[in-house]
């Protein structure tokens, strides 16, 4: 399945009027995790979801992944229901914890989704080789997860998520457990990967710079009840042109400020210029 294969104009992900209420469990009240969500994500677009705890960003991601079902509203992925998209394996997913199976080698971990789809051994091997090269872990194909660092394990998890060449990548704070330097490096790698594969990405994060650096648009959310408060377009130019120097651009800081102010709840200050350190 190649990235161009769909009706032009059809969004990769479409949420309409989505609401998610978690029922009371043993005495506590029910929680409205998400309310009144309308969101479209275009094919090949990189969208981040950001907001404080309880804003429903992870819930939103899980609704797209069909790991939860909405109380009201619809979730469509490539024109199908979320459930159908999951059954058709149209997306790959990566969590904050890499979730590698400790008794499998790195290669076997990457091959896992292909194994479950009964792909032939030779083809699995070949695909695993491609993915290992893509994430730069070819030398570690035969290693076990416990022999790898946290960052490397996440790279394996991402490789695994890309195993079936999905058109959509769902990521729930995948770099959350990593140190800042490794994080920045992984962000760069992820940018490159998403460009090369052309897949759409929904990326949940706590970090404003991370959201800005990676995305085309940043969806700002707030809690009680969880909802989208604002969508900030990141004016940093094409994602394919971004590199380490971009982090020190004025435009980068402007975007970060815009997102921060959106998070604080000052929508009229969304576009600003000039704040931040000039590096020229």
């Amino acid at each position: 399945m190649t990235p161009g294969e769909q009706r032009p104009g059809e969004p990769a992900v479409a949420l309409r009027g989505v609401e998610k209420v978690f029922d009371a469990a043993g005495g506590s009240e029910s929680v409205t995790a998400l309310t009144d969500v309308d969101l479209d994500i275009a094919p090949g677009e990189f969208v981040s979801l950001i907001g404080p705890s309880g804003c429903g960003k992870s819930t939103l991601l899980r609704l797209v992944a069909d790991l939860e079902t909405p109380t009201t509203g619809t979730v469509q992925v490539f024109g199908k229901s979320a459930r159908q998209a999951r059954l058709d394996q149209d997306y790959g997913i990566a969590f904050q914890s890499a979730g590698l199976l400790p008794w499998r080698t790195v290669r076997a971990n990457i091959e896992l989704p292909l194994e479950l789809r009964r792909v032939a051994k030779a083809r699995r091997w070949q695909r695993a080789d491609e993915l290992l090269t893509m994430v730069g872990l070819s030398d570690f194909a035969a290693s076990r997860p416990h022999q790898l660092s946290g960052g490397m394990q996440q790279r394996v998890a991402i490789a695994r998520a890309l195993a079936e060449q999905p058109r959509l990548l769902l990521m729930d704070e995948p770099f959350g457990a990593l140190d800042e330097m490794t994080r920045e490096r992984m962000q760069g790698e992820l940018l490159g990967l998403s460009q090369r594969t052309g897949c759409a990405v929904v990326f949940v994060t706590h970090s404003i710079p991370e959201a800005v650096y990676l995305s085309d648009r940043v969806v700002v959310m707030s809690p009680r009840p969880g909802r989208i408060t604002e969508i900030v377009p990141v004016g940093l130019g094409e994602r394919g042109r971004r590199d380490e120097d971009t982090r020190e651009d004025a435009a980068f800081f402007a975007a970060v400020t815009a997102v921060r102010e959106a998070l604080r709840g000052h929508p009229d200050h969304a576009i600003r210029t000039g704040r931040g350190v000039e590096k020229r």
Partner: protein, 257 residues
């Protein structure tokens, strides 16, 4: 851990044991303790030498009972645990039974089992060992099969994997360390049960029967010689279980159980 520390750690029980043996020997010699009260290590050693071939023969017989019972018990426990995954009733029924079995001396079943089956075969003893081995393995295997890392569970759900695929790919391999926890316990219990089951009459082919006959003739040094054999057999089983576990979990790294 530095090699010196490791050496020191291993030497400690050896040194302690040696000191204990020396103290024991001196105590018996100097205080002229009569044999029926406490045989000395040297007397026991003497008996070990004198009865060497019989010791090996009876240890072999008890060991064989223990191994057969152990294997049957382990296989039955694994099957029951896997069945219990699909039919929760099986697991819910067997778990309280496990506590009950742990609380009663299963070896006391020996006389009635002899009547039910045969007083002249090893089968009643093997059945006892199998029962004793079954429950620890069953309990730990069930624990291992029901514990699944939530991240792995969600991952498999995102792959739209069937229930059987999830079991095959995640639950079964994940349960392996738990299974071995149970096997280690069962291995140690197997030997002691096989030996104690022989107190209750029946074939006089194993270590237990020699211990009781020596004790009833107040030949305590000889009884202890066979006890040493029983201990050695138990250790052997435990180490064998450890060895198999190491082989089966090669390359996995530490997994929290």
């Amino acid at each position: 851990m530095s090699p010196l520390t490791a050496l020191r750690r291993m030497a400690a029980p050896v040194v302690f044991g040696t000191l204990l043996l020396i103290a024991w020997q001196l105590f018996v010699d100097l205080r002229q303790i009569p044999r029926y009260l406490l045989p000395s290590p040297s007397a026991i050693g003497e008996q070990l030498g004198a009865n060497g071939s019989d010791i090996i023969g009876t240890a072999w017989a008890s060991g064989r009972n223990a191994v057969i019972g152990l294997l049957v018990g382990i296989v039955a426990a694994l099957l029951a645990a896997v069945v219990g995954m699909w039919i929760p009733l099986v697991q819910r029924l067997l778990t309280p039974l496990a506590s009950a079995v742990a609380a009663m001396p299963i070896v006391a079943l020996a006389p009635v089992l002899s009547i039910m089956f045969s007083a002249t075969s090893d089968l009643p003893r093997r059945i006892i060992v199998a029962i004793v081995a079954f429950f620890p393995v069953f309990v730990t295997t069930v624990r291992g099969l029901t514990r699944i890392d939530p991240v792995h569970a969600e991952l498999m759900h995102s792959y739209a994997a069937t229930s059987w695929a999830t079991t095959r790919v995640v639950r079964l391999p994940g349960a392996v360390p738990y299974v071995f926890n149970g096997i280690r316990v069962a291995a140690s219990l197997a030997v002691i049960s096989a030996v104690v089951a022989e107190y209750f009459g029946g074939l006089q082919s194993g270590v237990g029967s020699r211990i009781t006959s020596a004790a009833s003739n107040t030949a305590y040094a000889r009884a202890w010689a066979y006890v040493v054999a029983a201990i050695a057999l138990g250790l052997l089983f435990y180490l064998a279980a450890l060895g198999v576990e190491r082989l089966a979990t090669r390359g996995r790294g530490a997994e929290h159980t």
